[in-house]
Symmetry: C2
Subunit: 127 residues, 2 copies
Amino acid sequence: MSERKAVVLFGHGARDPEWARPMERTREALRKQAPELRVELAFLELMRPTLEEAIDTLAGQGVTRITVVPMFLAHGGHLKRDVPVLIEAARRRHPGCGIDQALAVGEAEGVVTAMAEYALRSAQAGE
Amino acid sequence: MSERKAVVLFGHGARDPEWARPMERTREALRKQAPELRVELAFLELMRPTLEEAIDTLAGQGVTRITVVPMFLAHGGHLKRDVPVLIEAARRRHPGCGIDQALAVGEAEGVVTAMAEYALRSAQAGE
């Protein structure tokens, strides 16, 4: 039986509703690249759904493999300490669903290259 | 007279010293792409130098144009409210130096695309 897979783009959250826009744009880009892949957003604080809520919803809908992709610049304290605890608890709630945590997006080589290119273009824009 | 330009990669900061690694890698990538461009790191909190310290150092060394590139996922409250105040104060301290604030890296189209590609690869890695 084939797996039903999903990605959760997991960000810090903020009071400003516009803060989630890059996550929404990433979800749109993902949907174009992989229309068959379920993609949901989730937040550590200040925005909803929480990571628990997003995982519970997906597992409740029969998703059998969830990859949590942290939309953070770096793999810091939240991702090293807090999120593994949340994920371990979610695994216990949903033993039929595999749940993995990826490294933070900012640690990815392609993202580092894109950030450098953007910084260079920004510096050149003022010329 | 040609301008002496610099980029400040400006991040939130964290207690974990490894947190700054993606910023350091971005600086290395920038130095390869543009060896003539001065690139410094700066932090909002918990790490040094601060944005004020980085700008004062660069301006004191004769840099005449500084582009502050926020290493944040989104252009949220810190970047809308706190950082413009810091930059305006720095402009008053250094009237001979042009100082611009770019949008957060996470708002850049190329970075959004790279984040989506990384998320897709992460989801496929478990297959």
